[in-house]
């Protein structure tokens, strides 16, 4: 049900459906292991002896197939990944905008992300960050790349005590620590957040990147989505792939992000397409099934049991009426053993009427 609504939403924005086969060359994934977040793949050798893998991801295939033209696609595909030490098949729904995503194209994808969350629940949050911005802030503090990496990790944990250790060791200036602290504390509506960042004493590159985010926020407001979007620099993703705005979507009652995405120009670059930019997101539908869908307590509403003396034709008429009324009915001989759990158990008596059953 959710998938159909999502598909309709994406088609409204003129996105085309992307379909692909179940597997790709193993090398394609091996070269981009970190993009997949590590983990084992299900591999096998094809008839011709070449090594193949069941697809763990769709984005890589979309970029592989892009011919340099602008492309806006969505997909519903099963992916195969290692989760907590065992393989799982998971349904992924996603959107990618490939080519040269300008401010409008980026805002469109983020707006679609927010609209997608709304499909699942009225209680949702979309958090947004700009990994390029945070990168420039740290770069302009003249920190070594290993320290930058550590600070990124601290941001992902909102871990100020650990950043203070860098001040203690004399690696980080006290004034810079203040900036990092203020950035880490920001959590609120996008435009308010940007205003708070603007008040900080930032240097040139960071300020320029912030201008981009500001322009993006303006377009998002026009999309009518601004209210549901929060600025949060604790979203961190691999800078080997992501280079600009990144975002994650949350639903109340689901303890993990259900949606995650961002601007990832470095993936096409690594795949030999330096002129191509891309932004997109994916939704892990498994989490929705796991946490949001109503729990089922019964296998069926009614278990209708009959004896040898039963008039099958009349019983059939009765259960057909019940089914037409929306009930799930299972018919079984009284002698049958079954581990099925039904709301109601009834032994059929010739001449029984629907009202009696429903009492």
């Amino acid at each position: 049900m959710f998938e159909e609504k999502l598909n309709a939403l994406y088609e409204q924005f003129g996105y085309q459906k992307f379909r692909m086969s179940h597997f790709e060359e193993y090398d394609l994934y091996a070269q981009n292991r970190p993009f997949l977040g590590g983990g084992h793949l299900i591999t096998f050798s094809d008839i011709d002896g070449s090594l193949k893998a069941l697809k763990p991801d769709i984005t890589i295939s979309i970029i592989k197939n892009n011919d340099g033209k602008s492309e806006k696609v969505y997909y519903n595909e099963n992916v195969y990944r290692e989760v907590n030490g065992s393989y799982q098949e998971m349904l992924q729904v996603g959107v990618e905008s490939v080519g040269n995503p300008d401010i409008y194209a980026q805002a469109e994808v983020i707006a679609l992300a927010l609209q997608s969350l709304k499909v699942f629940s009225p209680e949702y949050i979309l958090d947004i960050s700009d990994i390029g911005f945070l990168g420039f802030v740290l770069e302009e503090m003249e920190l070594s790349s290993s320290v930058q990496e550590e600070i990124f990790r601290c941001f992902s944990q909102k871990n100020m005590p650990e950043i203070d250790l860098f001040v203690k060791k004399g690696i980080l200036k006290a004034s810079d620590r203040e900036i990092l602290k203020r950035l880490m504390e920001i959590y609120g509506p996008l435009e308010e957040g940007i205003a708070q960042v603007e008040a900080l004493p930032l240097k040139q590159k960071a300020r320029k990147e912030l201008e981009n985010l500001k322009m993006l926020a303006k377009v998002l407001t026009a999309f009518g989505t601004e209210a549901g979007i929060c600025l949060d620099f604790s979203l961190v993703n691999s800078m080997d792939y992501y280079n600009g705005v990144i975002f994650q979507g949350f639903l109340k009652g689901v303890p993990y992000p259900v949606l995650s995405g961002g601007r990832y120009d470095n993936l096409p670059k690594r795949m030999g397409k330096p002129a191509t930019g891309a932004i997109g997101f994916a939704i892990t539908m498994e989490l929705i099934t796991q946490y949001l869908e109503q729990r089922k307590f019964f296998d069926a509403d009614i278990r209708m049991r009959y004896e040898d003396s039963c008039d099958f034709a009349r019983m059939t008429e009765l259960v057909t009426t019940l089914r037409a009324g929306g009930k799930q009915v299972r018919c079984e001989h009284v002698g049958t053993e079954s581990s099925m759990r039904c709301l109601k158990q009834i032994v059929y008596r010739n001449g029984m009427r629907a009202e009696e059953v429903m009492q």
Binding site: Q157, K158, N159, F250, V254, P255
Partner: protein, 208 residues
């Protein structure tokens, strides 16, 4: 309502005392019984008492919104949570310990007994030292005495247990104290409540 996971034992008692001082008291927790859940509707808090190593599991999976846990657990299991405050409680060190006159012969693979295989592995990786990990669950000090391992990696508070077993701390891997952690999604949906709790705890700590 905020759900708070506390570690059973001394650290949990200290942590509760701090939370109570900050205005999040729940007196039923002090009663001597076998209950595991304690609630104070007026203060809108609910406490769970769980095994110290499980606090991060409850918080990471959102069964608890926030929790108090030793840094050792965070380093060992690296859960995806926010690490909001250093509470300064339960201060101790993770050390390499062994016989005082222990000589590390680098020709041999070093046998390390520990409850913290990930911390030990990372530490020796940094030092480019080949090791063999022997995972134990308690009485780690026995391992070098019985020749099961060359050294141990364990928590050292006063060093008394080591001393009584003729062992000594040899190297300090890291300092440890209790942290106030939060589930990442709870932090977003209960931002006001958790933010207030964080701020109040911080103020209480500053007052001492």
């Amino acid at each position: 309502m905020i759900d708070i996971a506390l570690p059973k034992g001394r650290l949990g008692e200290q942590a509760y005392a701090l939370l109570a001082q900050a205005g999040y008291e729940c007196p039923s927790i002090l009663e001597k019984n076998r209950k595991l859940i304690f609630e104070n509707l007026e203060k809108q808090v609910r406490y769970f008492l769980v095994k110290p190593t499980d606090v991060s599991v409850y918080v990471e999976r959102g069964a608890a919104d926030v929790g108090i846990v030793g840094k050792d657990i965070l380093l060992e299991y690296a859960p995806q949570v926010y690490e909001l405050l250093d509470l300064g409680l339960g201060k101790c060190r993770i050390c390499v310990a062994g016989y005082e006159d222990f000589y590390d012969n680098r020709d041999k693979v070093l046998r390390v007994a520990t409850k913290f295989p990930n911390i030990a592995r990372r530490y020796y990786q940094q030092k480019s030292r080949d090791i063999e990990i022997i995972k134990l669950n308690g009485s780690i000090e026995l391992a070098p005495i019985l020749g099961l391992s060359d050294v141990i990696v364990d928590i050292v508070e006063t060093g008394k247990t080591l001393q009584e077993n003729q062992l000594a701390p040899l190297e300090t891997i890291t300092e440890i104290s209790a942290r106030f952690i939060s589930n990442k999604v709870s932090f977003k949906f209960k931002n006001k409540e958790i933010g207030k709790l964080q701020e109040t705890l911080k103020q209480t700590l500053l007052k001492g």
